[in-house]
Structures are given as C-alpha cells and as structure tokens.
C-alpha cells in the first residue's frame, strides 16, 4: 500500500492482506524476495494491524539482499508472504490492575507498538535505540497514553527512551531507563537483541515477576520443520524431546524462565 523510510536503513511498509484479520501482536510473517538467488523468506514481526483496512504494518531494518529488495517496494507492488506465524505475546497474562512494562530494543521496537495497543491494563513503554533516530517514537507515545487522562504528568509517566549515545532520554539501554525512572513492573514484555533480553530475564528473576521475551534466530521454513531456529530451553521440550524449542512455531515469545539464553 505504501512505504516510507523512518530512519537510515529502517523501513515502514503497509501491506494489504486478509491475514490482518487474524494477526495478533508478537506474531510475524515470512516475506519472500522476488530475486531467486535469495531463496528463503524473511521473518518480519508485525508492527501494527489495521483490521478495518485489512492491512499489516511491517517495520524492518535492511540487513541484506532480501530486505534491500523489500525496501524498494512501492504502492501498487505486490509481495508474497506466508503467515501469520508464531504465537505472539500472551496479552491475557497482564491482568487488570497490573502495571505492564513493555521493552523494545532496536529493531525489536516495532512489535511493541501492536502489543501496547492490545493491552488494556496500565502500561509503560521503554524503547531503546542506538542513537537519536528514534523511529516509531510518536506512535509508541500515542499508544502508551491512549487510555490515560489528558494530563501531561500522566503522559510523562508512560513512555521513555534510552539511547546508547545518550542523545535522547537515558544514556544506555532499556534496563537503565527502567532503573532511572523507577519503573515498577508487575509483568514485563520485551523484544530486542539477545544481551538486552538476557538483562530483562535477570531483572525479572530478581524481582520475581513474569517476563515474556520475543526471540529471533536465522530461520528457513518458518513452520517448524527444518529445526533451524531453535533456542535452548530449561526443561525438555514437549515436541523435540530435547532442550530445544522452535522459535518459529513454539515461540517466538517465551516465558523468560523457560529459556536458557
């Protein structure tokens, strides 16, 4: 439908698809490049769902040939996708009265948007970036404040930014911003790079609160057959009968205590 660039190498693509009707936050689609030298579909998380328009928003980073091809898609072009895949964030775990803290880091920020829109309890969002290119900042702010009274004070306590270079918000990572702003989560949801997810897991274990982490790995099939995208699990996985779960079909979201990352 349309595509814009949000920051250097970060693209914002809206596609019209029937899959929008069933897509839930934290799920992903596999997008196929047209260039036959790049065979495998690219797993891209769902940033936002517009059920009325029947559209999905995919915000992704150009990481190689496949995503570079996607970045050239224009209104009217078509692209082949497989989906929706994965299980998404368990929004039902955030009970009314709880304070949910949503953490997104880098290209893990986009799925946090649809998650924020899907949670009805009180929520606080922290987005972490490398530098001042804080893509989706306004969208996240809006989603964080949607259910809040219109006071600036209330709005000021719903959304924070951390940047590695300190140009915006807290200098450092999302966990730094959680500490600096004295956020007190009852439940955590996170998507981002592995070091960040490890920090979230540690924090959740120290505080004794549940945390749901969205993981990523190089994938081939996306449907649980190739066993390429596994993560280590604490217990023996029910399907594989070893300490490996498939990120594509058993995840991509896991309870932090279940995975050994």
């Amino acid at each position: 439908m349309r595509q814009t660039s949000l920051a250097e190498g970060i693209y914002d693509l809206w596609i019209r698809t029937d899959l929008a009707a069933e897509a839930r936050c934290g799920q992903f689609v596999a997008v196929y490049p047209k260039d036959k030298s790049t065979l495998l579909p690219r797993p891209i998380s769902i940033c936002e769902t517009d059920r009325q328009e029947g559209a999905l928003r995919l915000v992704y980073r150009v990481a190689g040939k496949g995503t570079a091809e996607f970045s050239r898609l224009k209104a009217g072009d078509s692209v082949q996708i497989l989906g929706v895949l994965g299980n998404g964030f368990p929004v039902e775990k955030a009970k009314p009265g709880m304070n949910a803290v949503l953490l997104g880091g880098g290209i893990g920020v986009p799925p946090i948007l649809e998650l924020a829109k899907s949670l009805s309890c009180r929520k606080q969002i922290v987005a972490g970036y490398r530098d001042g290119n804080c893509f989706l900042r306004e969208d996240l702010q809006r989603a964080a404040c949607a259910d809040l009274p219109g006071t600036e004070a209330a709005k000021g306590s719903a959304f924070w930014i951390a940047t590695e270079d300190g140009s915006v918000g807290t200098r450092g990572n999302v966990m730094g911003a959680v500490a600096q702003n004295d956020l007190r989560p009852d439940i955590l949801y996170a998507c981002g790079p592995l070091p960040m997810l490890r920090a979230v897991k540690r924090y959740a274990e120290e505080k004794g609160i549940p945390a749901y982490l969205s993981l990523e790995e190089r994938m081939a099939c996306g449907v649980g057959a190739c066993l390429g995208c596994v993560c280590r699990t604490v217990a023996v996985d029910a399907h594989s009968h070893v300490h490996h779960a498939r990120i594509c079909t058993d995840g991509p979201v896991f309870e932090a205590r279940e995975v050994d990352i």
């Binding site: 065979l39 495998l40 449907v223 057959a225 390429g228 995208c229």
Partner: protein, 300 residues
C-alpha cells in the same frame, strides 16, 4: 496415464517424495500439502535416542541455496513410533524412515525397532556432514559403506535405501559398494559440505562453521551424479538436490532416477511437492506419454 513407480517391490503412486530433514515428520506441512498426494514421505533422521543437534545459528542463506548445520536434532525412535508414525499412517502415502546413528550399533538399534512397524522402507543416512562422529564416516569410504549396508540389510525387515554423500571423489564407487552389499536402492545426493563467512563480523555464519549446501545451486551436480550412478548400478535410484519444479524433477528422472525428492525448496514454497507432482503429470499429458517409466533413464 501411469505415474506409478516401484522400488524394491514397493509401489509409489507417483515418483515425488520429500527429502529427509526438510519435511519434519509430515505434520508440519500437513496444513499446506495433502499428504495423500505424495508418492512417499521421507522422515527427518531418527536415532535410537533423542539428539539435541548443533548450536545456533544453524542456517545460512547463500546464492541460490542454503547451508544448514542442524546436526540431526530428533526426538528419537520411541517418540517417532508413538507419535509420528501413527500420524503418517493416517494417509495414503508410503512412509520411508530416515535412520541415523553415530555407531553401527545405534543404526542397528533403530532398524530393529522399526522391524515390527508398518513403515514401508528405510533410508540409511550415512551422509550427514554436520555430525562429527559416525554418520558420514560410513558414507565416505567404500569398505565402511559396504560393511554398514550388509549389517543393516541383515537386520532390516523392510527394503533398504542407502543415502549417499556427494562429498566423495567418485560417487559410483560408493553406489557399487552399496549395491554389492545388498542395498535395495540408493538415494542421492545429500548436501555438499560448504562454509559461509560473515565479513563484517569476521566470523563463520554457522556455529558449526561448516554446513550442508542444498537448494537449486547444487542441482547440476546432483543430476550429474544420478546419471553416473544410473550407469554404474542396476538398483533403483531416488534422485534429489535442489528440485524446485517439475522440469527439475524430470531432469533427474531422465538421468535415471526412478523417483525424486523435494528438499530445501519445501522451505521456499510449502506447496513445492504438489506442484512438482502435478507438473510431471502435465508434462506427460502434453507429450502424450502413457507411462512415466518411458522417460526414466531415457537420456543415455
């Protein structure tokens, strides 16, 4: 029009199978593919006990193909017999179980466990390049291949297919060794050992460093090897390596394969097996060919 082919007395409704490791145990693709339409489902490798496989990353994309280093992760023979086999037997398709092991005894244990089941054939995986011990050691020396083939043949109740590695100097030597030891059929090719380096990070992409190359990039090598083996042995051949379309499958059949398997392309197009089967039928109709067997090995 006849699309049936027969291997070691087992009849297949059409020559299209799934390549081991690319189709799970069939369950994962049940949503996309009517398994009744396939000649056979060849399962992911099954060992005597659950295998955890290799660390990640296990997958790397390369030009026209992919590298994998899964390391034969599998839930083991008990789970296979209790969960996966009953699932597959609901369908009107043949079931070929890919058997893997690290030692002769491990292979034989799986073969013996399968003796009392109603699987149709066994495919012995002596060619996985991603497992350090055993496995490929049996597949790269003619004497070792002869030894394991004869032992498996003695233990097996079902016909035995030996899956050959292309990572050898002369694949016909291996084909002849398998035939001499009593193999009922051979399947080829398994993946070619490859490597990819991430130049930005100055690291191997795969945690295992090397992986098996599959996909259209390897197809010409596979077709050549099938043709060589077809000219070297009399036992039937199941051909595979980068098959994406009916035309690709026809190349293998014409080179001398009695059946074909779709592998990595299942990941690219979940409907690939069905499209290949339908495309072969369309080709036969278009050329007025009454029996698929007319084209098997027609290119001399």
């Amino acid at each position: 029009m006849n699309t049936k082919v027969s291997i070691a007395g087992v009849e297949f409704k059409n020559p299209v199978m799934t390549a081991s490791g690319t189709f799970g145990s069939g369950m994962e693709y049940g949503e996309f593919v009517d398994l009744n339409r396939l000649g056979a489902v060849v399962t992911k490798g099954v060992a005597n006990v659950p295998w955890p496989g290799n660390p990640t990353p296990r997958i790397a994309e390369v030009y026209g193909g992919m590298l994998n280093a899964i390391g034969l992760q599998n839930p083991g023979i008990d789970v296979f017999i209790e969960r996966d086999l009953p699932f597959l037997k609901q369908y009107d398709t043949r079931v070929i179980v890919n058997v893997c092991g690290k030692t002769m005894e491990e292979y034989l244990e799986v073969v013996e466990r399968l003796a009392d089941t109603d699987v149709d054939m066994l495919e012995i995986n002596v060619s996985c390049p991603n497992v350090k011990e055993g496995a490929i050691a049996f597949g790269q020396k003619a004497e070792a291949l002869f030894a394991i083939t004869s032992r498996v043949k003695r233990a097996a109740r079902q016909p035995v297919i030996m899956k050959l590695s292309p990572n050898v100097t002369d694949i016909t030597e291996m084909a002849r060794a398998a035939e001499a030891a009593g193999a009922d059929a051979i399947s080829l090719i398994n993946t070619l050992t490859g490597m990819k380096i991430d130049v930005e990070r100055r690291q191997f992409v795969l945690a295992n460093r090397t992986g098996g190359l599959s996909g259209p990039a390897i197809r010409p090598v596979a077709v050549r090897m099938v043709w060589q083996c077809a000219n070297a042995v009399a036992i039937p051949i199941i051909g595979m390596g980068g098959i994406a379309t009916a035309e690709d499958a026809l190349e293998f059949l014409m080179a001398g394969a009695t059946a074909v398997a779709v592998g990595a392309m299942n990941f690219v197009n979940p409907y690939a097996t069905i499209e290949v089967a339908e495309g072969i039928e369309a080709y036969l109709r278009r050329h007025g060919i009454e029996d698929i067997r007319e084209i098997i090995g027609c290119v001399k």
